[in-house]
């Protein structure tokens, strides 16, 4: 499987990568099923709460409200953090974020950093940056650690190693951690990872986590994990860092509670994550830093439709339900965040100009989303923006204007469709298949009728 997910000239378009992924049909079925199980768990958890749809509406409203008063809440947050003894830093982009983190670590001569899952640090490419400066970074979330050992990026935002089978993890651990050859028992492998990580936790000089929510009126950040690794990290060394996007802010504890009720349910079907920790100040003699990152988010806010993608709470629900993601895998999207939300927030950076079209616009994601991010509308909007900017994918660039003229002309449409129907009826399918592209490659061609409906109507209901 390809691990190259970076955008840039030369990276294959989504359809091409998806086609490669689809070659191993048994794996596609397994991948699709594993993710659909999460969707089913989510359905069961959501249906257990009578007010589920109200919670979604509340979640949506409160995120919209916060986004429209972002400056005010961020200022309030900073003020309260400072009062709590937290140091606050602002980064306009990924590079600045990485420099700030490095400076904090370098000042304390940190050699080893334990990190708990954060898509933002992935977005900023923090790990390679720190490693190039001689700092060892250990991802402590089990799934993250697996892909880190495999030197791969995450393929899902909540279950980052979902593309790997347990046998493959066993092989990897045998290689890197010295577990028994051929071992694939999840319990055995988890125990081995735990022992390995414990040693890292104890020897780390600093800890870093992502942020699920930042509570403005308390100057507090909320971190949700299932393994307790964030807490283990943050509580052992004296130096703790938290990276957050400006979109993570919520006004108060009540609003955080609304989101906590939907986040885990929509992600994995759990009532709540095992650990939902609130950090509101450094430990005694310790230091706590929060880095607040923009990295293109303010630009997104300028476009009313794109702005709604910042309501996202990164539950991963839209990936699990997406019929395209389940069958094309996370690495086909040319962006750190795959699936519907990945298209919504990443399409501007997609040099292949292909990911907005990696979607059937079925709308399932928009209905699954706990904060009602209108994903299908946003994706559709991205297509329009790309078209406007003259960045249609190659095929479309050449055929769309023709289709436009063709469809607007009855004579042209009628004549050529009549030719096509005749061809479909009299030529053997095998002869037509090579000419009918992707359709005929996978499907039988339509059985063509003798004449059009209009001809029938005029003849039988003669106007």
């Amino acid at each position: 499987m390809s691990t190259n997910h970076t955008s840039g000239a030369g990276s294959a378009v989504h359809a091409k990568k998806a086609e490669i992924f689809c070659k191993d049909e048994a794996r596609v079925d397994w991948h699709s099923k594993a993710l659909w199980m999460l969707r089913e768990k989510r359905d069961r958890a959501a249906s257990s709460i009578p007010e589920w749809e109200q919670l979604r509406e509340l979640g949506s409203q409160l995120k919209l409200h916060t986004l429209t008063h972002l400056d005010q809440y961020l200022e309030e947050f900073e003020k309260n953090c400072l009062a709590n003894g937290i140091q606050v830093h602002w980064a306009k982009d990924g590079i600045e974020h990485n420099q700030i983190v490095h400076k904090i670590l370098a000042d304390k001569q940190v050699k080893k950093l334990v990190k708990s899952k954060s898509m933002l640090t992935e977005e900023c490419h923090l790990n390679p940056y720190l490693e190039s400066h001689g700092i060892e970074v250990i991802d402590t979330d089990l799934g993250e650690r697996i892909i880190q050992l495999a030197e791969q990026p995450p393929s899902h935002i909540v279950v980052p190693a979902i593309h790997m089978k347990k046998e493959e993890v066993g092989e990897l651990f045998h290689d890197k951690l010295g577990t028994k050859a051929g071992a694939a028992d999840p319990l055995y492998l988890t125990r081995a990872a735990r022992a390995h990580l414990r040693e890292k936790f104890l020897s780390a000089d600093a800890a870093m986590t992502g942020v699920n929510m930042a509570i403005a009126d308390k100057g507090t950040v909320v971190v949700c994990t299932n393994e307790g690794n964030a807490d283990m990290g943050a509580n052992l060394p004296k130096l703790q860092l938290h990276s957050m996007g400006i979109d993570k802010i919520v006004p108060d504890l009540d609003s955080a509670a609304v989101i906590l009720r939907t986040l885990a349910r929509n992600a994995t079907g759990q009532p709540v994550t095992t650990y939902s920790s609130f950090y509101r100040g450094p430990q005694t003699d310790g230091e706590m830093h929060i880095i607040i990152v923009d990295n293109g988010r303010t630009d997104m806010l300028q476009d009313k439709i794109l702005a709604e993608s910042l309501k996202c709470i990164r539950c991963g629900g839209c990936l699990n339900t997406c019929p395209v993601y389940r069958r094309s895998g996370g690495y086909s999207y040319n962006y750190t965040i795959p699936g519907p939300i990945g298209i919504a927030v990443g399409a501007q950076n997609d040099d292949t100009n292909s990911i907005p079209w990696a979607c059937t616009l079925c709308g399932s994601c928009s209905y699954v989303c706990p904060t009602k991010v209108p994903l299908d509308k946003i994706i559709h909007h991205h297509r329009r923006l790309k078209a406007k900017a003259g960045k249609l994918p190659y095929g479309k660039r050449s055929y769309m204007p023709l289709v436009g003229n063709f469809m607007a002309s009855e004579t042209m449409l009628n004549c050529s469709m009549s030719v096509a129907r005749t061809a479909l009826r009299i030529l053997p399918g095998a002869m037509l298949k090579p000419f009918s592209g992707a359709w005929g490659k996978y499907r039988e061609l339509p059985i063509a009728p003798k004449s059009s409906f209009e001809t029938w109507f005029n003849k039988n209901r003669g106007q």
Partner: protein, 247 residues
């Protein structure tokens, strides 16, 4: 009622039997049916691709075919095209005349459920059918509550069909997952589209139904191609054909 038919290009050119069944069933129900001239395409293949400039001429041509036509309703036997027509008309023409056309637009199931319900069916339909709940119909037209949504559930498609004597209605696994057609998606993303179509066709076949029945001709065309390629013992039927057979 006097009904103007909106027959999308796909039905006109490739699936005339869907149009014919629609005319016949509406007439059996006592409606007068007319076919305004000059309809080609709603512009969906273009607008769905982001190409709004290319869609304008086509969309306005279709809209003009209905402007000023005297009728009580404009009925279309294709959910996805209907949704696109509504949205595109609105996008390119904000005049009161355009709005008057938009206000009269109904998808066939929607019309038979909300506007002019069928009082009684005359004939039985002695088959098991597997319902194809296509995305745009359920998620953009509220023909049925999508599986992602919690709370009270509605299903207009089933409500219309279940009054047919001796019909048996079942659903495929993952019943409202997209079939993968997605307009130009079927061509641009051939491999994923095909895998989705194959899974959907198999899920319908696994119900043991004789027919997969739906309200969206494009999905049915896609599924039909898949079913025949996979040699599955099931065929597609449009909802209009089932209703027409039972009247």
């Amino acid at each position: 009622m006097k009904i103007a038919l909106f027959i999308p290009c796909l039905v006109n050119q490739m699936m005339p039997h869907v149009g014919i069944a629609t005319v016949e069933l509406l007439e059996k129900l006592g409606h007068q049916v007319i076919l305004p001239k000059g309809q080609t395409c709603c512009g969906q293949p273009m607008t769905n691709s982001g190409c709004f400039d290319e869609a304008k001429k086509t969309t306005l041509k279709l809209l003009n075919a209905f402007k000023g036509v005297e009728c009580d309703a404009i009925v279309c036997p294709a959910a996805s095209c209907l949704v696109a027509a509504k949205e595109n008309f609105h996008e390119f023409d904000t005049s009161p005349e355009a709005q008057a056309v938009i206000d009269k637009l109904y998808e066939l199931t929607e019309f038979l459920h909300d506007v002019a319900p069928i009082k009684a069916f005359n004939k039985p339909f002695n088959h098991k059918i597997s319902l194809q709940l296509s995305c745009h119909g359920i998620r953009m037209l509220d023909l049925a509550t999508p599986s992602e949504q919690m709370g009270p559930r509605t299903n207009k498609v089933e409500a219309v069909l279940k009054a047919i004597p001796s019909i048996e209605i079942v659903y495929p696994g993952r019943y409202d997952e997209c079939c993968g057609f997605g307009g130009t998606f079927a061509v641009d993303e051939g491999a994923v589209s095909a895998k989705m179509g194959k899974d959907k066709a198999q899920a319908h076949a696994e119900t043991g139904a004789k027919y997969a029945v739906g309200f969206d001709p494009s999905c049915l065309l896609h599924l039909d191609g898949m079913m025949r390629r996979q040699k599955l013992p099931i065929e597609t039927l449009h909802i209009a054909q089932v209703i027409n057979a039972a009247l």
